[in-house]
Subunit: 357 residues, 2 copies
């Protein structure tokens, strides 16, 4: 069923208002959520809306948080999200990072006591309009096993980095530190297809191609897939994301990160508060003339786009290209939600008295 992004935003906003979010924050949260649907990261868009509401019902999410800076220097800060929506806490913290970059060249904000913040890319891209390089990291529900381990100790812990350009579209890296994002697995599960080797391991820690391996108690493999192919690098990157997001801020880390799904209780004896994010902003003209930087970014991108490819039908892509193409297409033709997602949203809307049209 096809919806316009505006309608989905309106619906999500009204749902957030119903659980007690102030209007401005509800709008912000809806904006972040639907940006995932627009960018083709369907797993992080409105499909997750009812998940946030269930967390609220469980008392694990504060709809009207008092977001506070609890420690700071001219270029750094720790923000306490007061258990608010990451969709609201994230942009607040990112704005603080940008503000600091305006004052002293760069700003770095680690966040505790937050919840899932949607797609990493949204927050990183906020920096672009201030001619800053934006960085956004978050930890997440433990689903990933370090190399050699059979335990779930890390989340898919994404890294997003957005870099301003002149005439070319911005460079936007937005990646999970696993071989494949969870959303890609869900697609294979729905189609009844196998996953490539290196994506997943079963409960005993052995490689599996069963796309339902995660549901059956297995775990995801870090980028690289196995030691021979560098999975220790994916593991180490995921670890850095965890440490900057949570050990630096005072949030929960590793296996203590509270799960997104409300039916799994958080680990007992938490080591911090909520989950954690990490944001950075660096003003490009804190390094060199901004126009010069942007011209060289365009040149970088044009050279890579022009690269000779192995197969003539392929093109070398620039990070952000696929998501931007999906956004253009979906702004024009609307967002085609899967029927189970539509059913879920309609049920949620009926319960809260918010029509989805």
């Amino acid at each position: 069923m096809i919806f316009s992004s505006e309608e989905l935003k309106r619906f999500a906003k009204d749902v957030f208002i119903k659980i007690g979010c102030p209007e401005k924050e509800a709008l912000q949260a809806a904006e972040v959520l639907v940006s995932a649907d627009l960018r083709g990261v369907d797993s992080h868009g409105v499909a997750r809306l009812s998940g946030y509401i269930r967390l609220h019902e469980k008392g694990r999410l504060n709809a009207n948080p008092e977001i506070k800076t609890v420690h700071e220097t001219p270029s750094t800060a720790v923000v306490d999200g007061d258990l608010g929506l990451g969709l609201v806490v994230g942009p607040t913290a990112m704005n603080l990072a940008i503000e600091k970059a305006k004052n002293v060249g760069s700003g770095w904000v680690s966040v505790k006591n937050s919840n899932h913040y949607g797609i990493a890319g949204y927050h990183a891209m906020m920096a672009l309009e201030s001619d800053c390089i934006g960085i956004s990291l978050t930890n997440a529900s433990p689903l990933v096993s370090p190399t050699f381990s059979k335990e779930r100790l890390l989340g898919t812990n994404p890294i997003s980095i957005a870099i301003p350009t002149k005439n070319q579209p911005p460079f936007v890296l937005d990646m999970a530190t696993t071989t494949a994002a969870n959303g890609k697995l869900e697609v294979l599960q729905r189609k009844g297809m196998n996953a490539p080797e290196g994506w997943l391991q079963d409960q005993e820690g052995h490689i599996t191609t069963d796309a339902k391996g995660l549901v059956k108690g297995g775990s995801m493999r870090p980028l690289g897939g196995d030691r021979e192919h560098g999975s220790h690098k994916g593991y180490a990157l995921g670890a850095v994301v965890d440490i900057l997001s949570a050990v630096l801020s005072g949030a929960n880390y590793g296996p203590w990160v509270p799960p997104f799904v409300a039916f799994i209780d958080p680990a007992p004896n938490p080591v911090g508060e909520g989950l954690g994010h990490f944001f950075g902003a660096m003003r490009i003209d804190a390094f060199r003339d901004g126009e010069e930087f942007k011209e060289h970014m365009d040149n970088w991108i044009e050279r890579f786009r022009a690269s000779e490819t192995v197969n003539k039908e392929d093109k070398v892509l620039i990070p952000g290209d696929p998501e931007r193409q999906t956004t253009e297409e979906r702004l024009k033709n609307g967002i085609d939600l899967l029927q189970p997602v539509v059913d879920d949203l309609q049920e949620l809307g009926n319960k809260l008295g918010v029509p989805l049209t």
Copy 2:
């Protein structure tokens, strides 16, 4: 043949002095170089010494540079390395980043007009003694093809991140953004063994297991190996390293990065000056109480070390463990250099009148 690290440092220092480096800088350069031998990254240690000297002979390396800060804000700077040894320019720039971190919480320094800086980890680890998180990136000779490309457009562009701890040894990530580091390939070449799939492609861009593929005009694959296993992520990470190191500073980027080997001329029409690095330092107590941070780092590490493993004989490693074990072993037993490396160093020593004993 076995040498003590002190003897190798003395030899490298004297060689650098012979080409005109001031004594203090020669010592610094030797220290960085031999730290690679100690950490087991043999490809970046004294085996490269004669390569630096050949660059000097070609006029592509300035033994007595005037390293200058050419642009700065309280938390950022661009440093011009005056075509000096990266082994000297790197630590100078990293010290500036640490200084800025002391003043305003964090410091970020992009470097142009430099040369190869040895192992990334050395520079990142400099931050540890100031209770800072250290970050070190560099671009490098183009050897890597982006996903779908058959051209060499990126270097192995490493990422190193060092994080302070309390009683545990520090967390030190030091990784190439390729599936495997070049040094591992060289080991396979010497042993006449094949490389695993996903490490290399041939000149036409097709996967090859020939460990000599690179010498035959092929290229290295980004971490992930192929699109299905996430090579677009390794490519994007390598791209970010290139951009922060060179587009931000005004160095050469992508295929324009000057090759380390003196027998290949730099690309005509350079887009910048020399090659580029990027350094960062963040004071841990710019985020939270330093002791508290370190205690939680220890807890993080202890939890991961205690993880249940797939095979009983394996242990979950913490980034930096293998290099630290090698360092301990080599400090005790000396550094066993391969005969071709010894021959090369002796030839160099004879030419410059510096004995290797």
